[in-house]
């Protein structure tokens, strides 16, 4: 091989490498962009916000149980959820600050440290309620495009980023290819076991918040125990001003009052 041919080969290899790396980058950017657009239906772009939440837990051969709550979200890892109804639950609260979680009951007064695994209610974990920001916790990649009943969806695989506080290690997320609305998500345990599926069922325009289109209802179906599901219904979104310093065990009652 003469010197000119060697140089030519090097240029060609460099070109191919450069092209492939650009392509890979382009796919990654697309997945990230898709996820950001998904999050826009679930949060308010870095602003603190509050909402009322109704959880309806459904089990076979049992009456539905309904719980009314208020959620105050400082960011996806700093939040307070207080129980409003039924009357016997009133005053209970779940405080999340990073990986620190406390459960508070008026009867005990002392906030009890709990593990993130301890679920909020029915099929809904604290992460399901408070984590409204996939982008911060997960690295997305595009798995495939899929058509369901004539609608085209981009299927993302989200893997928890290193040291993230993600509630799940991995999930698959179906996103409408034209509107970027999340359609459904399958959540997996670290072992790969399918834990539950979330269906993002209802979107509403919020006239008092610049006609923002907001996700307002999620149905979570237990993948292991057939027939068990939980509906999460969101209402009365408000943009709030909160301080991270207030999300501490000693300030639960004061913070809860801000939600009233």
């Amino acid at each position: 091989m003469n010197r000119l041919t060697k140089v030519g080969c090097l240029v060609l290899v460099s070109f191919v490498l450069s092209l492939s790396s650009n392509l890979a980058f382009s796919v990654e950017v697309d997945a990230t962009t898709v996820l950001e657009k998904v999050d826009a239906y679930r949060n308010f772009k870095g602003q603190s916000f509050a909402f009322d939440l109704t959880l309806i837990s459904q089990s076979p051969n049992k009456d539905d149980s309904s719980f009314g709550m208020k959620a105050l979200i400082h960011d996806s890892h700093t939040s307070l959820i207080t129980y409003e109804t039924p009357v016997k639950e009133k005053g209970k609260a779940l405080l999340m600050n990073g990986r620190n979680l406390w459960f508070f009951t008026p009867k005990n007064r002392k906030p009890i440290k709990i593990t993130p695994q301890q679920r909020l209610l029915g099929e809904a974990s604290n992460g399901d309620v408070a984590s409204t920001d996939f982008s911060k916790d997960y690295v997305p990649t595009i798995l495939k495009e899929e058509d369901i009943e004539g609608q085209s969806y981009t299927v993302l695989e989200l893997n928890a980023s290193e040291d993230s506080l993600a509630a799940y290690k991995k999930l698959h997320l179906w996103v409408s290819s034209d509107s970027y609305k999340p359609f459904k998500a399958m959540f997996f345990a670290p072992s790969g076991k399918h834990l539950k599926t979330a269906f993002y069922e209802k979107y509403e325009t919020l006239p008092y918040l610049n006609n923002k289109l907001q996700l307002t209802e999620i149905r979570i179906v237990n993948a292991v125990q057939e027939g068990k599901s939980t509906i999460m219904r969101y209402e009365n979104f408000q943009i709030t001003e909160t301080q991270a310093a207030d999300f501490k065990p000693g300030k639960i009652k004061q913070l809860a009052n801000q939600q009233l």
């Binding site: 016997k88 005053g91 990073g98 990986r99 620190n100 007064r109 501490k248 009052n257």
Partner: protein, 426 residues
């Protein structure tokens, strides 16, 4: 009762149309609890084999009105937790007793950095579940009943100022702390106390350090709790307290002419040095939400093996001679005092609890046990909660105490406690 007067005024004001924008009833939570308890005597314990010293009321029933109230306006708030109750038979077998306890009443100002608070309260703090040695104002908890009682005891007067940063807090506290019955043998009445507590929040950890002056005793404590992954939480607490006084077991020989008898006493004595108390524990939550908690307790002020041997001998002697015409009453007094110190008698304990279902969930079942690692005596309990509709909760629990004739839990007056309660929320 003064708190109730204030409460009544607030309720009256709530009907005034001028205050319509401040809904004074929003912060009111009330429930009525009816509870019954059945106890079965423990026989065979060497401390009181015939149950003549500490009679066990075989049953008691109680009605409790739990009242919680909070009112917030601007940066100010008032909080109240109170519980008037009526018992038809208390543990001493006294019929018809009305009690009014105010667990908490406070007036608070919460600025952006500083929170000022004053009133009466119980200080229930620390990472541990079964014991909080890092809390200078924690009472000794002998069993799960005591564990529950700590939340409903009459609050102590206090004033505190707290500075809050984003990931830290510093609190200065004054309180006129009332000792538990057990600690009263060391210090009578109230302890004029001051404390400073700093706590820090890290991403997955909470750390606190406390320094306190309990009248004339220094106290230092620290607590840490960390979460590892989604399922594991580990915690530890340590407290060192200047002894000042200690409850010493004293044996005195009494010459009665033809014979010499020993007289035993628990005497409050001046003592130097420090007592260390330690708790190490952790909890693991399985994917089905079953939670397992294990805690090891070290009680530095408990009897060592050699002290225990002497003490046990004294109990044996006093128990045998409690009918002695001359020293019998002194022996019975010694045995009675011993009863009141059952709980953290010794140095090494293990506590464990398994809870099925979790926080906020509908029905829970929990099993628990505490082992005295010296004499293998233990308490074991089971508790079941049923939620009925939106307004009712029922609860049934059973605690059993088991041990040899000369063991700590073998000396508990009852071997079985059955409790049932029903609570209606208004």
């Amino acid at each position: 009762m003064r708190h109730f007067s204030l409460f009544g005024v607030l309720l009256a004001v709530s009907t005034n149309a001028a205050y319509a924008d401040l809904n004074l009833l929003d912060g009111l939570t009330t429930s009525l609890v009816l509870e019954g308890e059945r106890q079965f005597e423990q026989k065979g314990g060497a401390l009181d084999p015939d149950r003549t010293l500490v009679p066990v009321a075989d049953h008691s029933t109680r009605g409790v009105l739990r009242v919680g109230y909070s009112l917030y306006w601007d940066d100010y708030s008032i909080e109240l937790r109170s519980r008037p109750s009526y018992s038809d038979s208390d543990e001493a077998g006294v019929n018809g007793e009305f009690q009014q306890r105010t667990e908490h009443f406070s007036v608070n100002y919460s600025g952006s950095l500083v929170t000022l608070s004053g009133g009466v309260t119980n200080f229930i703090e620390g990472a541990g579940y079964s014991w909080n040695p890092s809390n200078p104002f924690a009472e000794i908890r002998h069993n799960e009943k005591d564990n529950a009682s700590q939340y409903v005891r009459e609050g102590d007067p206090y004033f505190s100022a707290k500075l809050d940063g984003s990931d830290y807090g510093v609190r200065l506290l004054w309180t006129d702390f009332k000792n538990s019955e057990q600690d009263n043998q060391l210090y009578e009445g109230r302890l004029n106390s001051y404390a400073i507590k700093a706590n820090f929040l890290l991403e997955a950890s909470e750390v606190s350090a406390t320094g306190a002056l309990l009248q004339d005793k220094q106290f230092y404590g620290s607590s840490v709790s960390s979460t590892f992954g989604d399922q594991l939480e580990l915690h530890g607490e340590v407290g060192v307290v200047e002894k000042g006084h200690s409850l010493e077991f004293v044996s005195t020989d009494v010459n009665l002419g033809p014979q010499t008898l020993s007289l035993y006493e628990l005497q409050r004595e001046e003592d130097e040095g420090w007592d260390t108390r330690l708790l190490l524990g952790g909890q693991y939550t399985f994917t089905d939400n079953t939670n397992v908690l294990v805690e090891y307790l070290y009680n530095g002020s408990g009897y060592s093996d050699s002290d225990w041997k002497r003490y046990r001998q004294a109990v044996e002697d006093a128990s045998t001679n409690q009918q002695d015409p001359v020293l019998g009453s002194a022996h019975r007094g010694f045995l009675l005092n011993t009863h009141s110190t059952i709980g953290l008698f010794r140095q090494h304990y293990l506590f464990t609890r398994v809870a099925f279902a979790g926080s906020g969930d509908s029905d829970t079942l929990s099993l628990l046990a505490r082992f005295n690692l010296h004499d293998e005596s233990f308490l074991a309990g089971i508790n079941k909660v049923w939620n009925i509709g939106d307004s009712w909760i029922t609860n049934m629990s059973m605690n059993g105490f088991k041990g040899k004739a000369y063991s700590e839990y073998g000396w508990v007056p009852y071997e079985l406690q059955l409790q049932a309660s029903v609570e209606y929320f208004f």
